[in-house]
Symmetry: D2
Subunit: 339 residues, 4 copies
């Protein structure tokens, strides 16, 4: 029984994706994105996003997708507005600063891991102006948020609308894009409506290692290709990225996996509430932050893997379900917690 | 019949490596290099290189391995001495400059794609000195060279020895490390003797996408880990890099593949000479640069894939054999050229 | 009558400093810091700071001094802890990010423009740890603070002590170093006791354009010289920087100027209180942030120059006195405000 | 007697420029380029260059002017084509790489310190193309060249024309712009005709420390202002840069100084030839590279200052005349050499 709830990147590769890799391994293929699979990937994402002119670049890591996307959106002397707990701020060891040439991440607060509208307005109002200040650049939103919550489509629209009005470009960190679509029961096109550049994640949801950078405006394509190569993110045997992404997109695998992960997450959340766990944030997809008595962890941690985030009496724990989590596994974890 | 001679990155993944990927796809594994396969990779490379304290980092691209290795060796105001046709100079879109924060690649000439000893001595003598100059940093050698030739062990020793005497760190771009070992009939330990940091390539020789950065001095390990993460080269599902590299190292697969590629390359070179091709450089491994009449290409290019490097009457063509090339494929290409 | 209270950089050059520039303009002098004045500058600062091994570099701008100092203290993947309203965060257009290669400025709150001890402790506790995070780097304090307040020697000692205990290097932004020394009635040596690197300002206090970067540990001298040159901050006719700094240090001119500026500032603060101004922060040196009714500004702004920082009913205004401000000028401004 | 021939930056500030500094030191002036002198500087340079829309930024160092100008012209993944001995390559400790974010300086040969037309054409032809290569960026020419020779207007036009045809932007390093104008007996407008961005030098020709970055296209003005601030090159007491430059431009002081320096240089060159010195390059302005027997230096170096560039039997020496060099000083140096 697999009781690894540490992350949705600890799980295996989904069967159809592994099969696609195996299938792609026939004979020669031209390298560096000039493989036939890639053309299909681009076509499918254009349709999915309803961005008929979009261009797509594949990379192997989520940090790479985010950092390259931001580098394509902001100048070194500009800002990236993001939530205080955004992955780009907290978990990428400064990759956005590296890739952008030193742009400044400006942290905005907001309950439930969501950027607060008024806080965003206030920050926009005070950014830029004189030559002494860093200037307005981009807004980066994450959905599913790093708190495991969701922005509704209306909330996304409100925030991206404020950005547009201020001449600020918009980026969606979609490391859990599929989980958000599944949980909101919306289309990908609805999700990306207000954005200029999207990191469309695959790795956390059944791929081996592939993320798509999707740019609405094809004018940036050549520059972004050069940035990808210069960043050492251009694969020679690129077909193995393309084949993963293509399999992920086909037959709604991306959505099915996300639905499975979310269902496990929701079952776990309900069970946790039933045993008295205090939710730190409202768990709306496949990731739960909650507090349980320390004693509950002593037993659970002997058998299950997950992270404790602090040393409080009732420590904050993070529990993530990937697409493979079974009801039995979830229930066993709940049993362990219940003691 | 696979007549793709464009590069050794157009070929498939070797069977044992693909199998290792499939086998690794069982259950959960901790991410970011904390997988059990990685520990074995490090152990095996320490033994192979006879560097008992070495540390190893895996990345997915050769450019990533080179750029990170150089970033770990030089300061932004230092130089990287390399051959005029080095991959880091010609084919990485400035990734070394990006990763090092703007270090200067200083180009050194030399016949047959090898750095000339006297030219190196002269450049070392005139580098640095005052505060107005960029300073001495690292020497980067490539074996197999970008010209398809080899440095002998003595030649490597002479050049790295000059560097050490001048306080210059040393890097080996081993994108075709295995091909060089096979062609020189030497051990890996002999190959790396004079180096501080090695890019040990797998992708061009049967892997899907994995390269090892091997640092002799473990003191740089933590810094290099941070650099890798910051460069967005740290995989979450890292086991799929580890498993590739482990399979590559096991049972001498790396050497066997290289021997096969070299044998095909040598068969092709002999055949080309027999039909009157003029060798641009002495082909010593699996890569051939030669000139044939334009008419020879008209027919060949309809059926086979490879690069023409100029528009001369007898254009310079590059032909690369990977580990899958059969005698029949080589002979068919020769037939096409013979017209 | 000079009613420019916009900044302490709108004023003229002090007489003895201008005279020193004129006097230095005799015959030839070796460039790039190899002038005889510079040797004296270094000696005098060593004595003043009681740092017998210190090395000193001169640059022409305060932003240059800060950015270079920080670049000498932190790696690109490290953090600079500073107050939310620090000059390095708010007023340097990202120069610290540029010079450090993308280090992250981490903002800490605290009343009166001073970093709060507990907030610093909390931030130190949560910085670094895993490879996904930016790491501990430096603490940068500003005295006089950007709020016009002071850190006492005890407060400086407490904060720098916490940094040392955590292995964090320390930087003092001393753009108004002299004003702080004068107001605290302490020695320069007492001020710098807990710091590794100091930006010792001259420009705001009577120089034309010169700031000293003072590094306690001479081991960084050569690296810092290279960084200065590479940053294009190394003057060829360097004697004109040295001569300014030397004149500034001689006969306590730096202290006398600061005392004059502070006295004007304190007279202005008292007068403002007398007419009912609300102090935003406690004005402890030569810079005052306060609120007055909008009507008070209508008249004043026709004759005097200073900045309004917001559009509130009682807008926040910043008033700065440089060393030339006379009692008559201060009193005239107060008259204007009194209406 | 001032026998410092080490550089044209070892000399004093010209009288009218020092006087302008003194005169500017009256009362308050708004900082950061918002001083009244600056408006006049811009107007005068527009007229001088016959660039009616040009914008001008002042900085204090020549390296700063060059590095900022190049950063405004090229992307990090582009190239700067320059002569192998260009100042930006040899004498700026990598400042162009730092300011541009790692652009690659591509070195072109050519006799007499001038870029060879055919070598430029060849390099243009082989730059860029695929995503693996750094791309075409800018051409940087230096006049007076670092060899002390001149490009004629026709030569400048031919090279900049080739650049334009290839979509390459053009930069003039005019550290000795005035000396070139004087020697060619041409107008400034003729000199800048083919360029997009010019470093117009003052420091080597009588200023204390001021260089103008002149951009033909005002569209870059705001970006360049931000780059200057971020690079810590924006002066607070900016009037002292403006006043220098204004005095330099007035009454043809820039030209008169250059004529004086050139005349001294030509007198020295003739004298050197008369005593048998071998000219390394044709001295066409105020800088001479020549070889004399070692014995000639033994005596001269005891009394005069200048650089020896190698250790040959007849060492290469560099002799530079600034605008203050008198006939008596030149003749005394010649006497010393003559022994």
């Amino acid at each position: 029984m697999n009781l690894n709830f540490a992350s949705d990147n600890t799980g295996p590769v989904a069967g159809p994706i592994l099969q696609a890799i195996v299938d792609a391994n026939a004979g020669a293929a031209m390298p560096y994105g000039n493989d036939p699979w890639m053309r299909q990937v681009t076509e499918q994402i254009r349709t999915l996003f309803n961005w008929p002119e979009a261009e797509v670049l594949l990379v192997a890591t989520g940090t790479g997708a985010n950092a390259l996307a931001l580098a394509g959106l902001v100048q070194p002397w500009e800002t990236v507005l993001c939530h205080r707990i955004a992955h780009i701020e907290e978990d990428e060891c400064g990759a956005p600063e590296f890739y952008t040439g030193g742009a400044k991440l400006v942290l905005i607060d907001g309950a439930q891991g969501r950027i607060d509208k008024d806080a965003l307005a206030a920050m926009i109002a005070r950014t830029g102006g004189s030559v002494h200040n860093v200037q307005k650049g981009a807004l980066s939103l994450t959905n599913v948020t790093e708190a495991g919550t969701l922005y509704s489509l209306d909330q996304l629209g409100a925030l991206t609308g404020m950005a547009k009005d201020a001449g600020i470009r918009t980026h969606l960190d979609g490391a859990r894009f599929a989980n958000a679509c599944a949980a909101l029961d919306c289309t990908a096109a609805e999700m990306v409506r207000g954005f200029d550049m999207v990191s469309f994640g695959g790795t956390k949801n059944g791929c081996m290692g592939v993320e798509a950078i999707v740019m609405r405006d094809p004018a940036h394509h050549w520059e972004m290709q050069l940035r990808r190569k210069r960043a050492a993110q251009l694969w020679s045997k690129h077909r193995f990225l393309s084949a993963q992404m293509l399999a992920y997109l086909q037959n709604d695998l991306w959505l099915d996996n996300a639905r499975a992960a979310n269902a496990a997450g929701q079952r776990l959340a309900k069970g946790l509430r039933d045993i008295g766990a205090r939710m730190e944030w409202e768990p709306q997809a496949n990731m739960i932050f909650c507090r349980l008595p320390r004693s509950a962890h002593d037993k659970a941690q002997a058998e299950a893997q997950y992270y404790l985030m602090d040393n409080a009496e009732e420590p904050l724990c993070r529990l993530v379900c990937d697409f493979t989590k079974t009801e039995a596994e979830v229930d066993r974890l709940l049993e362990l917690f219940a003691g």
